[in-house]
Symmetry: C2
Subunit: 401 residues, 2 copies
């Protein structure tokens, strides 16, 4: 590990500029303005990578083939841990769960990293942290014991750009970790052509603190806790700078709509799924996953494939950030949003809940956080697959004021 200590105050100053002098006054936070940091007005963090967010992922089928060499000793490893009652689970789920040498405890762990998808470095840090933590929350784990940060500083950044942007990303990451009741104790920073940002989240817990996501039963319903369309929104926002792209969508959306959707997306991506996870225990969730790089349907299918019972998931409703369904349609099949394949970053939890508890779950999360959750589908008898019905209902989710 490679963080070294030092006493320079520059990065703190940079962060405080963002916070209007008050590190705790997030509500008062000004949006990132490159000029206020002596950078060119045209500076865009998202230009330091050719891929964005979760679309950087190696395709699901290719990855499956590549990790085969990890899979094959799987049963062996299970034997090795036969003296403990906890099954060794991990590959294919959101987190790995490893039984420990110490009485009854297990290690729940996840890692994730990707490329900038918003231009505000502080928000990018928050989103990256929320995204890493989301894998823990998907397993119902609400406490994170430690985080590490993984950073790649782009070779194409000037020194000045680096000294402005990297401390802000770090600060955003760290603030999000604090909000989650954890902290960042180390990490690794390298030089890389593309800017990269990610981390590791680790929890040591009792088996009752996590929910093995394999227990869906016929009659359950599916709840989604954040709207879809984050990738469409960040792309549409970038197109405001690119007339030939903008012309493709300007008939269905205004500049104002796009800005609102972009801010709604940033707000959504930086929101922790922690309360969503806590309420899973209260309302007896049968399993959950978070919606990220493989899109709603990709993750639904993965969750379905892990079920003990012979069930399938059918999705009827698609909550989408306002106007983004129209933008996606105007772009032809490019995003595959309504087909369920559009990658999301730091998306919501997709949760299997007993039918009689789902409405209370949605009401409770809205009461606690002020954000809606939606019942989007049902669990029926089937062969462990998932599908979206032919003409799903699109629920337009407006920007929050």
């Amino acid at each position: 590990m490679s963080y070294q200590s030092s006493v320079a105050q520059d990065s703190l100053a940079a962060a405080q500029l963002e916070m209007a002098g008050n590190p705790n006054a997030l509500a008062l936070r000004r949006p990132f303005d490159p000029v206020a940091h002596d950078l060119e007005a045209s500076f865009r963090l998202t230009r330091f990578a050719d891929l964005k967010g979760r679309s950087c992922k190696v395709p699901q089928d290719v990855l499956g083939k590549l990790v085969e060499s990890l899979q094959q000793d799987y049963s062996q490893e299970q034997d090795q841990f036969m003296h403990v009652a906890i099954p060794r689970i991990g590959i294919g789920l959101d987190c790995s769960v490893t039984p420990l040498r110490h009485g009854g405890l297990c290690l729940v762990q996840t890692t994730d990293f990707f490329y900038p998808l918003v231009d505000d470095p502080y928000m990018m840090g928050k989103i990256a942290c929320a995204n890493v933590l989301s894998d823990l929350y998907a397993m119902g784990v609400t406490e994170c014991d430690n985080m590490l940060m993984l950073l790649g500083v782009s070779t194409k950044m000037t020194e000045k750009e680096r000294d402005v942007v990297i401390p802000l990303i770090m600060r955003g990451f760290k603030d999000s970790a604090l909000e989650a009741g954890t902290s960042v104790t180390g990490g690794q920073t390298v030089i890389n052509p593309w800017c990269t940002i990610g981390g590791v989240a680790t929890t040591i817990c009792q088996p009752n603190e996590y929910i093995v996501p394999d227990n869906a039963v016929m009659g359950d319903v599916l709840v989604l806790t954040k709207p879809l369309g984050t990738q469409v929104a960040v792309n549409a926002h970038q197109w405001l700078d690119q007339p030939e792209r903008w012309n493709r969508i300007k008939l269905v959306v205004s500049e104002e709509d796009v800005r609102k959707a972009y801010h709604r997306a940033m707000d959504s991506m930086s929101r922790l799924n922690r309360i969503a996870a806590r309420l899973m225990h209260k309302y007896n969730a049968h399993g959950s996953t978070d919606v990220t790089g493989f899109g709603l349907l990709g993750h639904a299918q993965n969750l379905a494939s892990h079920q003990k019972n012979e069930v399938s998931f059918v999705i009827h409703n698609l909550p989408v950030i306002a106007k983004m369904a129209a933008v996606a349609k105007a772009c032809g099949n490019m995003f595959q949003l309504l087909q369920g394949h559009a990658p999301e970053t730091s998306g919501g939890l997709l949760i299997c809940l007993p039918r009689e508890q789902a409405a209370a779950y949605c009401k409770d999360i809205e009461k606690q956080e002020g954000y809606q959750a939606w019942i989007i589908g049902i669990v029926e008898k089937g062969n462990r697959t998932a599908r979206i019905i032919d003409k799903p209902r699109v629920i337009e989710v407006p920007a929050k004021d």
Copy 2:
């Protein structure tokens, strides 16, 4: 986290080709031959990044400034953990150590990733894993509970190259983890311009399982468990393909020497520091660090700066892979090897040992592993710095047969 399951067998086949059909017969393993995998004879893994190994690191001073934003809440976090007796240590050391909610245990954790520095993908995987684990070993922790793997697949690789190389890297990483008594339960794989490889190592342990590296006393000696010169060796080996570079060093070294040094370096970098760590407990080590990206002196200085007592480190001897000191000299000041600044990858442990125990430590490690360790310096009264004497003795370390 994003590993998805699948049943394809291609990667296994690729790995078995490397293992001559027997995954356990490492001794019989053939060196990587691109042609045997239907790749071009000119295929070189190291061409998929412009930087190699630890030289990819953000410079020590720059990094210090960047992580300032993590440092500042440090004292706060200590308060928060005042109810436990374990100090919160981490940033600046090889691992982070976090007290846990569960009786007396702590979480010891580290992460590292970098770029290919050898052309054999399987060996690259082993080296990356040994390098990550080394941070645990530097703290005297000998058991690793879990590993995650971090991979970047180069955008410049053909599909064929990817399908050959990535499973081999994964297999090497995994085999090294098994050798260390641990396993890889997940990770993240992304597409990136440069090929990247790294991981996360995590242990949950009792406080007596790790050694806080701050206890050096006057009269201690410094022991180093691996020779220096890995970066010089991998560079010299690449220069065999580059006549204009090769001409600069061919007067001081033969092609055969370079090949031997390269294999010695690979062997050394893929060797675990686990026994070195175990023996630290037996011989009452006062602290240790592993020698990696900041070179012997950089890490010695960092270790010195963390000491409780007013001590300094003075280094007299530099064990170097045979002929690599001559190569470094022939390249002018480029590597800064004899100045202690040449980056190493998966280098040895630099250990402060009571003078009367050091010889026994060295003898024991040689008996158990067949590798020499060296007493390279002393701990004297001072202001927590480290230096190499004016004309250090260079110990030529031959290739193992």
